[in-house]
Symmetry: C2
Subunit: 310 residues, 2 copies
Amino acid sequence: MRKLKIAGCAYALPQDGKIRFKDQTRYRLKDGQTILDLAEEAANSALESAGLNISDIDIIIAAMATPMQAIPCNAALIHERIAKSTDIPAMDINTSCTSFISALDVAAYMTDSGRYNRMLIISGDTASAALNPDQKESYELFSDAAAAFIVTSEEGDSGVLYAAQKTWSQGAHDTELRGGCGLMPAFKLTDENKKDYYFDMKGLRVLRLSTSKLPEFFRSGLEESGVTLDDISLIVPHQASKALGLMMPLLGIEKEKYIDRVKDFGNMISASVPFILCQAIQEKLVNRGDILMLIGTAAGLTCNMLILRY
Amino acid sequence: MRKLKIAGCAYALPQDGKIRFKDQTRYRLKDGQTILDLAEEAANSALESAGLNISDIDIIIAAMATPMQAIPCNAALIHERIAKSTDIPAMDINTSCTSFISALDVAAYMTDSGRYNRMLIISGDTASAALNPDQKESYELFSDAAAAFIVTSEEGDSGVLYAAQKTWSQGAHDTELRGGCGLMPAFKLTDENKKDYYFDMKGLRVLRLSTSKLPEFFRSGLEESGVTLDDISLIVPHQASKALGLMMPLLGIEKEKYIDRVKDFGNMISASVPFILCQAIQEKLVNRGDILMLIGTAAGLTCNMLILRY
């Protein structure tokens, strides 16, 4: 076990940004708001929930799927909002939608070794910046949101028991946003290639690749970890889409064991896992000593899973 | 010491992409070439230099300063080029120009713990995608390049002796590329705000902040590490600009102890440190058992330093 204790968390949604598509609720930033506002709010609330000040933090990790600017990294821009007068290091860790799981995995090496004793991990993305109104499936799926966690090196029973990641890049173009960055700069935008600058999801291809890879990834992860499904109190999956309700039974996970709030929040990209995990903690669906699993698929296609004792 | 052995490395420059500004040589991608081509070339050559195949690699880390696409992460796009039929995990680590140093720092926890035994770290950016012809200082400074390293968990004397990072976000907007991503999507580009979509460097401000922070960072790092300047055989600094020749003496580092090839290659963003380190290894300026320091400033403003025994 790598010692790592969750000491606090919070999440933020755009105020007055609630919209609905039939029975599905989504949240979108309004003009004048940015994901930095949500990240700042979540980070400050997470600090408060842990009884800490920013000066207590040893590193700020932005675990986001999308860049806010091409330069500097997301963590530096968040640092400016919450830690401007400090010299706290700022770093981005990105495995797309499962960035929070990867960041927690990396963080556990640093808390366990004593390198950093208190870490602030922040996730969130501006989905609404590039949704394509003509691609209903994705246009109606995503929400803008942020979530933040404080993790510490406090001695005790809390820690990461197991973590794994795999990437199958035959899925690299099934979920993508091609335009705006190095390979296809903003200057190259024309009326003809406009759709390359929108988020593009081939839902059926993602689902097909995920269903072909996730069950074996899940099974072998459990086996390697030595943890059984019965040992696990709660599973927090990435809220990828309504297909969550198909995927979980495929893994042999019963409805009572995982949280599905896609209807209420949609896919919040990198914020999904920490947002839902924080809700579970606040609602006391998780108690100290419980074993949890975080799991999800991400653009890549990447699968991440992490088992921790809360 | 966290065990980590450099087992191979390589770098790549755009073929036929050499240009000159007076006595300064720079490299730029030509139409039809992308940074992915250079990353692929460097990665494959690094594998060859280590006598390994891609199937021997346990994780691919993209340590780049800029996104190639907003989604998926850079490492997944590189994975598609060099590891498509595998399930090797792909992850981005980003602290802007010093991303390679940060990635090596994180990697050393993973090799030391046995989590991953052979890691491929790739750096490189498309500087030329967003250089502003009207900002001569930056337009004439940067090169497109890539570099790749194989690091392993092999037992022995090689490893990371010390690493440190600090970020001062009062410098967050001194080196930036504001447009193209989440905060300012490509769709918002107009004739009026075009300069926001170009790379923007306030050289004098960067220099002023760097000279106010780097000396103390360097001094306290050496003190914490227990390593003296005399113990260090070679220092590989980020090739930020011609100001390197002013900065190094300010740190008390003599000309013989560090490598300055800004004249020959310019600032290669995230590729600078691994590119120059790899040249030093290939030219046998570094020998097994030698103590090296990697150091640099990055957009943020971030400072990184890492001391390793090669």
